[in-house]
């Protein structure tokens, strides 16, 4: 789904040929596989692919190969942890000017801190939580995310990240399902979770069903761009 959001944004910017550089960790690999699967339908061509180990400290050889590949218009980096921060730094060192897309695996302020000025202009799909204050007033998620952000920052003194938000959503969905089921019986609670409809969480609006256990659709993601060391919402996404 994150791939679909990225590809949709690429199409809006009229970019259709990309390179991918993915972490070989579970998240990076699984997102890379998903991107490869949805690319043809989204009209995106993957010109070349590189990978790096999650603990590598220098990705300049891979980025040099990407830079030298003709026709590449943008680069997508599925990954998690410190890898994307190092990729972003190396990207700037090599002077690559093509648009860089990160994944929601870097949806925390730490990424901006670690990547430093190299993070300027990087785009990524992320939940509304990161831009709580900048959401339009009519957005149904706004009260939920603003409230969560305020409570979290008061209690922990740290900036929010979507990872905490996901945990919060998961807990709340479980609690509400248990309240509806009026018991803690596993089968009943599962049935109630599957009936979750219109739950407004920090990660999006959740509508589950027996065949859909994620319950989110593309509207859960917003396209963000990093400007001035902070998250900003790309208009219309």
């Amino acid at each position: 789904m994150a791939c679909e959001k990225i590809f949709a944004d690429l199409k809006t910017r009229k970019l259709t040929t990309i390179a991918m550089i993915s972490g070989t960790d579970a998240f990076g690999k699984s997102m890379r596989d998903q991107c490869v699967a949805v690319a043809p339908k989204a009209g995106i061509t993957i010109a070349t692919e590189e990978s790096y180990g999650p603990r590598d400290s220098d990705m300049t050889p891979q980025l040099t190969n990407i830079r030298n590949k003709a026709g590449v218009q943008a680069v997508v980096n599925p990954g998690f942890g410190q890898g994307p921060a190092i990729v972003t730094r190396n990207y700037q060192q090599l002077g690559i000017k093509l648009p860089l897309y990160q994944s929601h695996g870097v949806a925390s302020k730490q990424f901006i801190e670690l990547a430093g000025p190299a993070a300027e202009g990087v785009r990524l799909p992320a939940a509304a939580l990161l831009i709580a204050d900048k959401l339009p007033a009519k957005d149904p998620q706004k009260p939920v995310v603003v409230n969560y952000t305020r409570t979290y920052q008061q209690k922990s003194g740290q900036a929010v990240s979507t990872f905490g938000g996901h945990a919060y959503d998961g807990l709340m969905i479980l609690v509400q399902a248990m309240q509806r089921a009026k018991s803690a019986d596993k089968a009943k609670v599962r049935d109630e979770i599957e009936k979750t409809k219109g739950y407004i969480g920090t990660g999006g609006i959740v509508n589950m069903s027996p065949t859909d256990h994620m319950g989110l659709d593309l509207s859960a993601f917003h396209m963000l761009e990093i400007k001035g060391g902070d998250w900003t919402l790309v208009p219309g996404t």
Binding site: T24, E50, S51, Y52, G53, R55, D56, S57, D58, T60, P61, Q62, T64, N65, N68, G81, Q82, A85, I86, R89, Q93, L94, G95, Q110, E113, L114, G116, P117
Partner: protein, 290 residues
Amino acid sequence: MAELLQFVFSGLTVGAIYALVALGFTLIYNASDIINFAQGEFVMLGGMTTVFMALAGVPLPLAALIAIIVTTGIGLALHRFAIEPARGASPVALIMITIGASVFLRGVAQIVFDKRFHSLPPLFGADSIQFGGAAILPQSLVVLAGATVIVILLWLFVERTLLGKAVIATAANRLAARLIGIDTRRIVDFSFAVSAAIGAIAGILVTPITLTSYDVGTLLALKGFAAAMLGGIGSPLGAVVGGILIGMIEALSAGYLSSSYKDAVAFLIILVVLVAMPQGLFGRVKVERV
């Protein structure tokens, strides 16, 4: 052509990191035939302690100094409390003790520090130096310089000082060394302390490039150990050459072959070298008189 130069620079960057970590293995091995697998944790402690001291408001140079002193203390404690009481055991048992210590230190680091990634500011700025169409970070050159300085100091120590000679004597034959009045326990204490200090310095110098967290020690120790074995364990020059060689092989494989297999290629080369020359490139051949 510019891309070959870029791959070489990348190899130098990564190789210098491995070299600096590999150097930490040499002194302990020289003094006691032990491979200290907690060496990676010394590197981690150097970086993380500096980061946390700096976050607490301590000026960076002082934070680095405190980190080195703390890590040296932990190295000494490792010897005194974990290795020394088991000194009669076989080298394999002692190595397993160091692995246990490495797991322990990693666990404690999670609690004392945190589980996030941290960085340190590079010494000479974050802008890369452009040369011949390729870019290299100034910090990579700092790491290389650091490794060179340590190699020279270690060589001077072993060749020119009495204490250095005592370390070699202890390694050659512990009983004979004790018979001529060398306090072998102090010597091994010393080797652990200095190796911990080298590890801490390595951690402080490489963190601006690699970032640090509580578990960077594992992979760094593995690659550093491979570098030390390739270069000949016990030889400081070998450690540096081995490190740079592995870094180069990785970068060139990632660039010219496939980035998925770069680790495999590096370890394959190590296997080949060790089969052909078990003592590594610069190692001493062990000769036993029968």
